[in-house]
């Protein structure tokens, strides 16, 4: 088997906080046309989390290669580097109580500096970079921190309305400790005017929620004469304490 054997570890918390579904995009959003036929129409069924949602797969650093978090080098020929603006993306994965979440698998993928993905179904005329694959991953440290190096992705046009362009963005996949914390989102870059024209961004109803996905330039973390840095924190669902939970009445 090729996935890491998960560890048996004590539970880190109790029930998950209910998800604020108004903070997330609705399933159906007319201006994002693909959502029209892919959006459930009926109300999801709510229930308090059970062990099935409060447990989840665990990944350990032995799955990581030394270049997994370096998209400038991890697909390139030896001695070659991806073309583009060199950046470092760093931040923390936090729960809703602001606690850094250690040991979580974070995966990221993106277009190259010209806005082209390395994918068979991608038709944009911008060229592939022979030394750029576009994927990376890491596991958060004991404070919940992660970091990776890449090139800044380019904006790209996509078939939706006649003239829709995605702002520059990096896709993120995050595992919590709990299956119910599973999250995929996107990171945008401070100052990109395309953020405010994009129907996918616009699926998020609240401007403050959109701002939560915009990474500021972090000059302090910039490496002089080498790479600029952007800081992007990710918040996953919180959990209640277990003091008065997980026990049967009368026990």
């Amino acid at each position: 088997m090729n996935s890491p054997m998960a560890h048996n570890r004590p539970p880190e918390g109790g029930s998950l906080f209910p998800r604020d579904r108004e903070w997330h995009p609705p399933a159906y959003f007319e201006q994002y046309k693909t959502s029209i036929a892919r959006s459930p129409k009926r109300a999801p069924i709510s229930f308090p989390s059970t062990l099935s949602e409060e447990t989840g797969p665990v990944f350990t650093t032995d799955i990581l290669g030394p270049l997994d978090n370096d998209l400038i080098l991890n697909f390139g020929e030896p001695g070659e580097m991806a073309i583009g603006q060199r950046i470092i993306v760093h931040g923390r994965v936090l729960d809703q109580d602001g606690r850094g979440q250690p040991g979580l698998l974070v995966e990221f993928w993106q277009a190259n500096a010209g806005g082209r993905y390395r994918h068979k179904k991608e038709g944009y005329m911008a060229p592939l970079d022979p030394n750029f694959g576009g994927c990376g991953r890491t596991i958060t440290d004991s404070d919940g921190r992660y970091v990776f190096r890449t090139v800044k992705p380019g904006p790209y046009p996509w078939p939706n309305r006649v003239n829709d362009w995605r702002p520059a963005h990096i896709h993120f996949s995050v595992f919590g400790r709990a299956w119910g914390q599973r999250l995929i989102t996107q990171m945008y870059f401070e100052g990109d005017p395309l953020i405010w024209t994009c129907p996918i961004v616009d699926t998020i109803p609240d401007r403050a929620a959109i701002e939560q996905l915009i990474a500021p330039l972090d000059l302090d973390a910039t490496i002089p004469m080498d790479s600029r840095a952007y800081k992007f924190d990710i918040v996953i669902r919180g959990r209640r304490g277990t003091w008065f939970e997980n026990r049967k009445e009368g026990v």
């Binding site: 048996n8 999801p44 229930f47 099935s52 447990t55 390395r118 299956w179």
Partner: protein
């Protein structure tokens, strides 16, 4: 008054058309960055229990199969123990219970080889029926969809499952029950929309 000071969860964004680049790069034609894609198996052949195969296809509201989705599953072992985070552990050492599949490139059908899960208790002690949790993301899905697959040959357990019991529209419950195809194969097709729209959970 004090404030709770609690953070908002990062809002979801669609996984987009290229989620396979990030999550199963070897499948998507980006070899060599990782030795292999994660989640291609949930257990080894030595895992205890009844070995089964679960397969299915995700359909949109027009009945078209999704070929750009990513499916993940999470389940307990044959004794009903989760491989991580379960206070009742440890689970079978030959079992993780987590799988990830992009589906077939041409048909979109996904397949997991696993063992049939045992029953897992609710916090109040009531037993849930054997089930597999599924999470579906794709282009056009703005927030990952959570659902569960139950087994057609567990009628008694299904009848007392506290989650299934919450479902008001009983005529929709069959959307959560897999179909037995024989030889330990179960089919669980997921319909995002339409008269037989699969039940999704907010959990």
């Amino acid at each position: 008054m004090q404030t709770l000071g609690r953070l908002k969860e990062s809002p979801s964004q669609t996984a987009g058309p290229y989620v396979h680049i990030g999550c199963v790069p070897n499948f998507s034609g980006i070899p060599g960055v990782y030795p292999e894609d994660l989640g291609t198996s949930l257990c080894t052949k030595d895992a205890k229990g009844t070995h089964i195969t679960v397969k299915g296809t995700v359909y949109d509201g027009t009945g078209t199969a999704l070929k750009d989705a990513l499916i993940e599953v999470w389940q307990a072992d044959a004794n009903g123990i989760y491989s991580a985070g379960d206070p009742r552990g440890p689970a079978d050492p030959n079992f993780t219970g987590w799988g990830r599949s992009p589906g077939d490139y041409d048909t979109g059908e996904w397949v997991f080889d696993t063992v049939k899960p045992g029953r897992v208790p609710m916090h109040d002690g009531r037993l849930m029926a054997p089930h597999i949790s599924l999470w579906v993301v794709a282009r056009g899905i703005n927030l990952g969809l959570q659902t569960r697959m139950y087994f057609p040959d567990e009628e008694a357990a299904n009848a007392e499952d506290p989650i299934l019991a919450r479902i008001e529209h009983k005529n929709r419950v069959p959307t959560l029950i897999a179909k037995a195809e024989g030889d330990g194969i179960y089919r669980f097709d997921i319909r995002l929309q339409g008269d037989d729209e699969t039940i999704f959970f907010d959990v």
